[in-house]
């Protein structure tokens, strides 16, 4: 197994693990952390894909991952702010209400 394929597989594994977490966990905070695990998986596949295309580290893939990090930082921060807000509003828990 080549190095790129190894990282790519690892990325997909992380993605799946995170997806499981988002679906299985009840707490919004844990879901948010699971989303961040998924994000790492996607970035890993991107970096791996860069090597696969040209054989050398690919600047386009790295630029994409850097941009992605900035975007997901914003998303995570917003999520944390919302969770804090719901805690302040409900006072008792940050339980994610799965009911419709």
């Amino acid at each position: 197994m080549s190095e790129a394929a190894l990282y790519g597989t690892l990325g997909v594994l992380l993605f799946s693990l995170g997806l499981y977490g988002v679906i299985a966990r009840r707490l919004a905070l844990r879901k948010l952390i699971a989303v961040n695990v998924m994000i790492s998986g996607v970035f890993l596949t991107f970096i791996a894909s860069g090597t696969r295309v040209s054989g050398t580290p690919d600047p386009v893939a790295q630029a994409i991952v850097l941009t992605g990090i900035v975007v997901t930082l914003g998303g995570t921060a917003l999520g944390l702010a919302l969770i804090r807000r719901i805690r302040a509003l409900t006072r008792d828990s940050d339980r994610y209400d799965g009911a419709e």
């Binding site: 295309v53 386009v60 999520g79």
Partner: protein
């Protein structure tokens, strides 16, 4: 061509820096953006599609913007709805304290809950106007971009701004809905991005045109394309991924609901259209497009039935959106069988018509809530006095959603139905007709209460919704009907 994105971004910064003038800056920006959209539409109409290379860089390194008929129509839709909703929002929120006029009085009620409702709205949260313009910039970016990663960035900007707008109600249900919306949106974006990553690893390109010529059926394509489709379907709220939509659209401020339901779900839908009938057209198996169509059908049934059961007007409209999105996905199944047939025009035209009509319905619901102080459907008897113009607007927009002849919705459904007959997909025709009947049932449920039922005992509404909320509603509803009468211009721009 970059102006529809740059202007709202600049407007958002100005609105953030000068909060006292934010409302005026926003309306001005929305009007200027619409003017530019009209100019772009003229250009496309007379001289055909165009493209722009950002910073002069050519693909594969540079990012390409493309402007074509469908894109410019969605730009126009966005411009019109945003202008109407922005004008509405200036009256929806209470004016700044120093400019309070005599007519607007009383303490500030929240939008939504029952209770005697004085006519003055809640004050606009400071973040509202900048976030509002971010949504406009992100949507315009989605309609213009021709680059997979640029799509992801615009999608994220759209989701984050929309989620923040939902959370601005700052109450339990609103923030809860925002969290759910954010998590669904983030996961969906990651499906999209993982698919893009796999495509990039296989073909080494992100530009749509380059991808279209490079893509071939194969193992990686067979995994990547469904990932991209699932990600966008979740963001469009295709059944059964619609779970985040009703609470978010039902609990947000009325102008926010209007833009979310009318426009924001159309962004990812437009990307699906771009990809499925662009680079992916040769590599998506028939089973995938048929699945999308069948899920659309189930969405029509589920959304309509749930809409019939809702006790509150805003939730009814939100579930109606779940149903209407189903029609848009019928398009993919029909277009796969006959790409040059009427299905694509029908689906896109329906999306335009629904964008106007659904936004008008949510604006009308907001005006009715303001006039009556509640949105319980059973007690809408006084709606005609609390918000007369908006009630008429609701009825007009309802004509489009039901798909009555001569409305925009009818034209879209007719074309979809024609395609269903031509390609022999009769189940889609059943869905179109049954969906129309169900829509008539839930809309007449509202209209019966508003127009026919006797006002409840002592049913004088607490006041009247401001005219500034009613006129934009009526204008938008009128446009959704006019779309069905003046189809020639939009049709000339559709493929």
């Amino acid at each position: 061509m970059t102006w529809p994105v740059i202007l709202p971004l600049a407007g958002a910064l100005l609105a953030y820096v000068f909060p006292r003038h934010a409302a005026r800056v926003t309306v001005g920006t929305a009007a200027a953006t619409l003017a530019i959209d009209v100019g772009l539409a003229r250009a496309v109409f007379f001289s055909g599609p165009a493209e722009h290379r950002l910073g002069g860089w050519t693909p594969p390194l540079g990012i390409r913007l493309q402007l074509d008929g469908p894109g410019v129509l969605f730009l126009l839709l966005t411009g019109v709805v945003f202008l109407a909703a922005s004008v509405y929002a200036t009256r929806f929120f209470a004016p700044p304290a120093d400019r309070r006029s005599g007519r607007e009085r009383g303490p500030a009620p929240r939008d939504g809950p029952p209770g005697p409702g004085p006519l003055r709205g809640p004050p606009a949260p400071a973040a509202f106007w900048p976030l509002w313009l971010f949504v406009l910039a992100a949507l315009d970016g989605l309609f213009l971009t021709a680059d997979l990663f640029n799509m992801y960035v615009a999608l994220e900007l759209l989701t984050l701004a929309a989620v923040a707008l939902v959370a601005l109600t700052n109450d339990g249900p609103g923030v809860q809905a925002a969290i759910r919306y954010l998590l669904a949106g983030l996961v969906a974006s990651l499906f999209f991005l993982l698919g893009v990553s796999l495509l990039y690893s296989e073909y080494g390109v992100l530009d749509l045109a380059a991808l279209g010529s490079a893509i071939t059926p194969g193992r990686v394509t067979a995994v990547a394309v469904p990932l991209v489709i699932v990600g966008l379907a979740v963001k469009t709220a295709l059944f059964p991924f619609h779970f985040w939509l009703p609470p978010a659209h039902g609990s947000a401020f009325a102008p926010v609901s209007a833009v979310l339901s009318g426009l924001v779900v159309k962004g990812p839908f437009f990307l699906l259209f771009r990809l499925m009938l662009g680079p992916f057209s040769g590599v998506v198996p028939g089973s995938v497009t048929t699945t999308l169509g069948v899920l659309g059908l189930l969405g029509i049934a589920w959304g309509s039935v749930r809409a019939l059961q809702q006790p509150r007007l805003k939730l009814l409209i939100a579930y109606s959106t779940v149903a209407q999105i189903g029609y848009l996905f019928l398009m993919f199944s029909l277009a796969a069988a006959d790409p040059s047939g009427p299905a694509v025009r029908g689906g896109l035209f329906y999306a335009l018509s629904h964008g106007c009509a659904k936004a008008a319905m949510f604006l009308a619901a907001g005006a009715i809530v303001r006039g009556l102080g509640h949105d319980r459907i059973a007690d809408l008897g006084a709606a005609g006095r609390g918000a007369p113009l908006a009630t008429v607007g609701f009825a007009l927009a309802g004509v489009g959603v039901m798909g009555f002849p001569a409305s925009g919705g009818f034209v879209g459904k007719w074309l979809l139905g024609e395609s269903a007959v031509q390609t022999g997909q009769w189940w889609a025709l059943v869905g179109l007709i049954a969906g129309g009947l169900l829509a008539a049932a839930y809309i007449f449920r509202v209209l019966r209460q508003a127009f026919v039922a006797a006002p409840e005992a002592g049913g004088l509404p607490p006041g009247r919704a401001p005219r500034g909320m009613e006129w934009p509603t009526l204008a938008l509803a009128a446009i959704s009907v006019l779309l069905g009468l003046a189809t020639a211009l939009p049709m000339a721009l559709l493929p």
